[in-house]
């Protein structure tokens, strides 16, 4: 797994034993909420191996080289550090200046999943707000599965083609999943479900708690709509919409 800006998604996969090797830029943490107890346990006990380190730009530019069909991209990060030493990069002499320059090898993930605001049945996709890595990742992945808040008519895409960030020809499958980012945020639609993430962080302090969460929210439901019901249904989702638009205040949450 590419652990790039990887937070809840990666934590669930690592904790549930689906991942045994990670190339890490950011992983095993939940930013302001603290470290991931379950992922830490898997790494510290050797069940999940960190096979390489890199940085966010380091990962980002693996995708950039990949989408450009180039073997590598030169960069001026990772130099002089253990992050660089444990990465898949090589430092060479720049043939023009004679100075050291870092080379980041291209990355081609076997499969990438990207959740978008809307796309048509062909996979022409629009993303609102910041893009993070989706532009480059969509173009370098060997297989790309788009999940979308809604499927729109092709005419919607053609009316404003400058809004297309992912074109159909790099897309392998489209799945319509409203609220598909839950319990994480979908910018300009709904906020993080902090109660759910906090429940995960509390439960995943033990292997038994990890199983309890997975049983409740993954194995114990038949489909994604049932999952949303277990999470609090329409009432909860409406709250998350109001939170996204700052119409509900922050509230104290116990992450430990």
């Amino acid at each position: 797994m590419a652990g790039k800006t990887a937070v809840h998604d990666a934590d669930l996969l690592v904790a549930s034993g689906c991942v045994n090797k990670v190339e890490v830029a950011y992983c095993f943490g939940h930013e302001l909420r603290g470290l991931s107890p379950a992922s830490r346990r898997m790494v510290e006990s050797g069940q999940c191996k960190v096979i390489a380190e890199t940085s966010n730009a380091g990962h980002q530019w693996r995708w950039l080289a990949g989408m450009m069909g180039l073997p590598f991209i030169p960069s001026r990060n990772l130099l002089g550090t253990d992050t660089g030493g444990y990465s898949s990069c090589k430092v060479v002499k720049d043939p023009f200046s004679g100075k050291p320059i870092n080379l980041i090898p291209a990355g081609y993930p076997d499969v990438a999943f990207i959740h978008v605001h809307r796309c048509d049945v062909y996979g022409n996709a629009q993303i609102d707000g910041i893009m993070v890595e989706d532009f480059e990742l969509s173009r370098c992945a060997r297989r790309l599965i788009i999940t979308t808040e809604e499927i729109v008519d092709n005419e919607v895409i053609r009316r404003e083609p400058w809004k297309t960030s992912i074109p159909f020809f790099v897309v392998d499958a489209v799945v319509e999943v409203p609220y598909g980012s839950h319990p994480c945020e979908m910018p300009l639609l709904y906020w993080f479900d902090e109660d759910n993430i906090a429940e995960w962080l509390r439960l995943s302090r033990t292997p038994e708690g990890t199983d309890e969460y997975l049983q409740k929210y993954v194995f114990g439901v038949d489909n994604f709509e049932d999952y949303l019901e277990v999470c609090g249904g329409v009432k909860r989702l409406n709250y998350l919409k109001r939170r996204e638009f700052l119409r509900e205040p922050m509230k104290p949450i116990a992450y430990k």
């Binding site: 943490g29 990060n77 130099l79 253990d82 700052l246």
Partner: protein, 259 residues
């Protein structure tokens, strides 16, 4: 500490972090206290502080504490919502004045560890890794680092893992490694004081003590020798208004400042 401490340590850290930032300058902000410090600066002495977030945000007016460097609060009323490639490329080209990070361990040259405590392949504590930190430390003209708990185990002779480059092993090392000339660590802020770096040796140097902190405390809480100049100042102390903004506007639930 002073007889009547009207602020806690984290509020003091955030405030001193904010005071390093200047109006009409740009800062690449990491998660945690750097976010709080940058928000405070923007709401007080630096209304035109240009904030940059790695996930793809230029120039937001942050409305409430973001929980992630990628959430929608990070591009609220920004001048552009763009991509990580764009932000990192612009930073690498030298556009960003300040970088602002938190850290777990630091050495006398300002090298930072946020990857692992103990051996890399058999970690005692696995931390999240670089994230954007190595990039911020490589690209920023002036790197500011906050370490909330200065102690012998966090101010170390050799960090367990150099996640993010400081001055590496001394003067000229960054340039020899291929990093941009003139870039590097600028300030380190802890619960005891504010530090800079000696121009000749590139070693950590005390600039100011927080009110009530003694020189002995600074020395006792470091594994390496900190340069102590003849003149050491006293750190800034937040006003009632600064504290009101921190507590009521920026972190009303005490998620970061209440820790």
């Amino acid at each position: 500490m002073a007889a009547e401490a009207k602020y806690n340590v984290r509020e003091l850290l955030a405030y001193n972090g904010a005071r390093v930032l200047e109006d009409k300058r740009s800062v690449f902000v990491g998660t945690g206290l750097p976010m709080i410090a940058s928000m405070l600066a923007q709401r007080t002495h630096a209304p035109n502080l240009f904030i940059v977030f790695e996930a793809g945000s230029f120039g937001p007016l942050i409305p409430e504490l973001p929980i992630s460097v990628a959430d929608s609060r990070t591009f609220y009323k920004g001048i552009a919502a763009t991509s990580m490639h764009d932000v990192m490329a612009i930073s690498q080209a030298g556009y960003v004045d300040y970088g602002f990070l938190g850290a777990a361990q630091i050495d006398m040259y300002g090298n930072i560890n946020t990857t692992v405590i103990g051996d890399h392949d058999r970690p005692k504590v696995r931390l999240p890794g670089s994230g954007g930190a190595n990039d911020v430390g490589s690209f920023s003209q002036r790197l500011i680092t906050i370490i909330a708990n200065q102690a012998k185990r966090t101010f170390v002779n050799k960090v367990d893992f150099i996640t993010t480059p400081g001055y590496l092993d001394g003067p000229g090392a960054r340039e020899r490694a291929g990093l941009a000339k003139g870039s590097g660590p600028y300030r380190v802020i802890t619960q005891l004081g504010v530090y800079g770096f000696d121009e000749e040796t590139k070693r950590l140097k005390l600039l100011s003590l927080h009110p009530g902190v003694t020189l002995d405390e600074v020395k006792e809480n470091s594994s390496f020798e900190i340069i102590i100049p003849d003149k050491v100042g006293t750190s800034y102390v937040p006003t009632e208004e600064d504290l009101r903004i921190l507590r009521q506007e920026i972190d009303p639930t005490g998620m970061v400042l209440g820790k």
